[in-house]
Structure formats: C-alpha cells, structure tokens
Symmetry: C2
Subunit: 225 residues, 2 copies
DNA sequence: CAGGGTAAGTGTATCCATGACATAAACCTA
DNA sequence: TAGGTTTATGTCATGGATACACTTACCCTG
C-alpha cells in the first residue's frame, strides 16, 4: 500500500483541466478560445485545457495549458477552480474528468496565437461564443455565472483594468459581465462607499469632460480564492 | 484516438470522491466519519470516500461510498460537489485527486456501522471533530463553509428536519450550522416572510407552551443543485 | 384547582443599502 | 463662442435587517 495501488476499475480515468479565461476588449467581455487541430472535434473551438501532470498542482496545470495553447504570457490576475465535470461520455476518447477553472486576464491582453496541439487561438465575445467542443458550452456558462457572483465582492472587477482607470471604465466592466446597464449615480455611490478606490491626478482627455482617475487601495483583506 | 490515449505523465493520477455528510442530532450539527482499518492512517477517522468507477458519475460514486462505508441506507436530501482537492502529496499512496461533496441527511439518521474497508462509522460534532486523516480537516472546513453559505437560500435547512417541524426546531438547525445564536422574533419574521412554510395542526406537548407545526410548501422553484 | 415554571409567540422603532430620477460642470471642436 | 459630449452630483422613497421586552398557553405539583 505504499506505492499507488488503485482498484482496476479506476485505472483509466483521465484527469484534465479546462480554463475559461476572460478579459475586457472594446467594452465587451471576451473569452479565450482555441481551435483544435487534431483529435475529436478537430477544427472546432474549445476552451484551453489538457491533462494534469503527475506532480502538478491543479492550478499549475491550468496555467500551463493556458500558456502552452495560447501563448498568453501574462499572469492571470485571478484564477479559481469552480466545478469538476465528470459525466461518462463527455469525451469520446474515454473517461476524462475535467477540473474547470475561471481566470481573469488584464485589459488588453489580446495578442494570442495557437500553440501545442491547436491551430489558432482568439478572443470571442463571452456571451455569444461560437459552437464549442465537448461540453464546453456548459462549462463556459457556469464560468460566466461564477464570474457574475464574484462581482458582488467587487474586488474582482478591478482585475480587468489597468492599474489606473476611471469610474465609467469600471462601470463598463460591470455592465459587460452582467450583460445589463447600470445607473451611473448609484454605481458611483456603491463603489466609492466600499472604500476600495482612491483618486489620483485627473486625466482622460477624450471627448467631453475629463474623468477622474482612480487606483485600487492597498488591499485590506484578501478575498477567499 | 478512439480508445483512451493519455500522455504517460497523466496515467497514474487516481480519481476519488470524499463526502462530508451532515445531520442534526440532539441540537448539534454532526458529521459522519469512518474509522479506517487499513492503508495509510489506519485507526484514524476520516470522511467516507473512495475511488470513482470507470463508468460512474461523480455524484453516484459519492453516494455509493457513503452507503458502502457507513451502511447509511437513506437517500441524502441534498448532495453537492463543492471543491476538488489535488495537491501532490495529499495522499502518501501517490497522486490522488479527490472531488469533495457535501451531503445533508435527514434528522435521526444515526444508525451507522462500519462497512467495506472501515472498522467503524459514527457521528461527530461537526465543529469539533477528532483528528482526521489526510487533508480531511481542510475538506471538512470547506464543507462547513459551503453549508453556511447555502443556508442563505434557506431551503436547505429544511432538509435536516422531518416533514413537519416547529419554528424553534428550525431555528435550532440554523444556529447549529452557523454556530451562533439568533433572535427569535427576527428569525420568525424572516422565515415566514419567505413563504416557504405553511402551518398545520398544533402539537409538541413538551414543557411550556405548545409550538405550531409547519411543513414546507410544495416547492415553487428548485434551487441549483 | 390554583399557582409557578417553562417555552412559544408577538410588534415597533431605527438604520442601512438600494433604486429611481434630472441637472450642472468641464472639456473639445468647429 | 456656441454646441456637442461625457463626467459628476443629491434627494427621496422603499425594503430588509437589527435591537429589544412582554404576554400567552400549556404542564405539573402542592
């Protein structure tokens, strides 16, 4: 019983991770997808993912697959396991169980190209993705729901933005995730009341009145990851 | 690519389930534990659990292990996957990843005895368990937290009780899970306002004024399981 | 059968968070 | 300098949560 001794019926269960990685792009929430080049569902778009190494943490596997398949180099600002999908038959190759993760990449991280085993990698609008391989549509739906829930704790929305940002920009992030419009005045009230933001120097010279720039406060308490 | 072809480095990852099963007993929240009879951590108490079969749903494996190891025959009123633990080294036998589940058993389900591979099975106070094998203390802590969160949706507390129950009994369940006292009047107000309970005939002749009996309303909408 | 013990049951006032809503201020450009 | 465009701001009504003390109903015992 010292080295691994599994019952024979359990020996062929494969363990994988899949990652729904989100980022803001032109005011819309986007999700990172890869186009499969081989295996089942070739040519079809799918969430980045793959098998977990023998000595690998689950979240490490998620990060590795994200980098290998999409050439995204930046560290995700947030990475969170949210559900494990294990229905028999979800993968035609055999019994494969996938620990699904939700990730947030900072604004503007959109330069991706296919890597190992995939022919392309691109951002798609998260609420209206193309047809997806396997049960990835369900995984994506659950990831979106989790993202929306996490938004209540409000810290997470900041991870989509650069270090300094305006309140309208932050509101745009919330609206893109929730897929609905919010009231400007109430949004400001609520966000500023939380005391997570501090103002700095003015900026944003575009059209109309310039907007105040904010940055996030030091970080009083860390949310449960 | 038709039969399972995994990269060699992933071949020896074992997939297991563990179950934190809760029930009310004498006014205290209890968790069901088994005493291991062999393997690592023999003699030590642990959450019921074991390996997932090749053609088995995850929640089916959880139910099966619960029955096999503890002789609990009743259906859990609630079963929910809540986190997957996969740190290398969490099990000395090798790389074993465990999909952890939280279950609620109805009130009074206390007749258990050890089954396959365990020498005993007993209920313990959930907030003050004995030393546990592997990382089961952490799994139990997370299960408790999830149970507390689910309490907000308030349906779940009813699953701990028999079909008819009094408001003080329901309050006792909430207090046992949250590990703090609640105000009687506010509790009634809140619970009755939800419209999930309907009164029936009076009863409960014990000491003091008799308490009104309630039962849960049909079930308007099913919570996400 | 009366009084004491015990637990169930009830109402009000306050506070805080949320949502609806319209106008003024700052900058840019033509 | 006038018009366009976007940021910024305050009030009122509503609903939910919290704090808090006394009355009612039944049982048991003397």
């Amino acid at each position: 019983m010292d080295t691994l001794t599994l019952p024979p019926r359990a020996a062929h269960v494969g363990l994988a991770v899949d990652v729904a990685a989100f980022a803001m792009h032109e005011g819309t929430l986007h999700v990172l997808l890869v186009q499969r080049s081989s295996g089942p569902h070739a040519e079809v778009w799918a969430l980045p993912g793959g098998f977990v190494g023998e000595r690998e943490q689950l979240h490490e596997a998620a990060l590795r697959e994200l980098r290998e398949e999409t050439s995204v180099t930046l560290e995700p600002r947030h990475l969170e396991q949210f559900y494990t999908f294990g229905a028999p038959g979800r993968d035609p190759r055999g019994r494969i169980v996938s620990v699904a993760h939700m990730a947030v990449l900072p604004y503007g991280t959109v330069e991706v190209h296919g890597g190992r085993g995939v022919q392309d990698a691109k951002w798609f609008p998260a609420h209206t993705p193309p047809p997806l391989a396997f049960d990835h549509q369900e995984i994506l739906s659950r990831a979106l729901k989790r993202l929306q829930v996490r938004l209540e704790y409000a810290q997470l929305a900041l991870e989509f933005l650069p270090e300094t940002f305006t309140l309208p920009e932050l509101q745009e992030v919330h609206e893109a995730i929730l897929a609905r419009k919010l009231d400007k005045r109430n949004f400001r009230k609520r966000l500023l009341a939380q005391g997570l933001l501090i103002a700095s120097g003015e900026r944003r010279s575009g059209v109309g009145r310039p907007a105040q720039l904010y940055r996030r406060v030091k970080s009083l308490r860390r949310p449960q990851l």
